[in-house]
């Protein structure tokens, strides 16, 4: 794993450990959320987030206090996810339908319909588009930070995000993931309604 591009520094004094830990604890909820979007499964996500947290702790000597620790830990988590995936899923291609069934099964049945629709639609995106969109559109990262996390060019992240946005809108409008024979356009309508409600609640 390469952790050198973000916050590379020679070594911290062990007195820095306490400060490092405090910052790391604050980031745990964000690591859990990012892991959830990568794995699509709450249990696997927490395993991944815990592994990433430990990796970050073990690598704390290479982190420079005051640099972007959120981006640094997200990069560690992402690297962990893909290296595990390469190891365990190389032979068996993940069956998209099975993944979607799992996702539906573990979903909170009380969750608003629109959120469920969005989760389903996200699953239909290519992995690199999904992570770019999540980092920029939900994680609050700048394109430059997302590029560092993903180890690619800024322009690549920009184009992935914009393709992801177009594809998501198209999928939601067409109901292209075809669940329960839902009528086309329903997903987008419920998302527009939900978003309106949320925006109203926020302001």
């Amino acid at each position: 794993m390469s952790t050198s591009r973000l916050g590379a520094a020679p070594k911290p004094a062990s007195a820095d450990d306490e400060g490092f830990k405090r910052e790391l604890v604050v980031l745990i909820p964000h690591l859990r959320a990012f892991a959830r979007t990568l794995t699509g499964d709450p249990t696997a996500a927490d395993d991944l987030a815990q592994d990433a947290m430990m990796k970050a702790w073990d690598a704390r000597a290479s982190y420079q206090m005051g640099t972007n620790m959120k981006a640094w830990t997200f990069m560690i988590l992402r690297n962990q996810f893909y290296s595990e995936k390469r190891r365990s899923w190389r032979q068996s291609q993940l069956d998209q339908e099975a993944a979607e069934r799992t996702l539906v099964a573990v979903d909170d049945p009380e969750a608003p319909v629109a959120l469920d629709e969005l989760r389903q639609a996200l699953k239909t995106l290519p992995e690199e588009q999904r992570e770019a969109l999540i980092l920029v559109g939900a994680g609050g990262f700048a394109y430059e930070e997302a590029a560092e996390i993903c180890g690619c060019a800024v322009g690549t992240v920009k184009s992935r995000v914009s393709r992801a946005r177009r594809a998501l809108a198209a999928t939601l409008e067409k109901g292209g993931y075809g669940r329960d024979g839902k009528a086309a356009g329903d997903a987008m309508r419920s998302i527009l309604g939900e978003a309106d409600r949320l925006a109203g609640a926020r302001s």
Partner: protein
């Protein structure tokens, strides 16, 4: 602002031009709001004790090593 009076608008591919662009913009905005909401939902969950336990154990180990 997100306009949800969706039923009053013409639907489908024939709706091009400015209205179509505005529609697309609203949809992207709505997707963005939902995306952040989905992410924040997990962020706002209480962190399972396991996380802090693991960190505590690692911390103790580091302290041992330093002593």
């Amino acid at each position: 602002m997100i306009d949800s009076t969706d039923s009053s608008r013409p639907k489908g591919a024939e709706n091009k031009g400015e209205a179509g662009l505005e529609e697309a913009r609203l949809r992207q905005q709505a997707i963005g709001v939902k995306l952040r909401h989905m992410f924040d939902e997990v962020v706002n969950e209480p962190v399972p004790d396991e996380f802090l336990d693991i960190l505590k154990r690692a911390d103790a180990k580091a302290a041992d090593g330093a002593a």
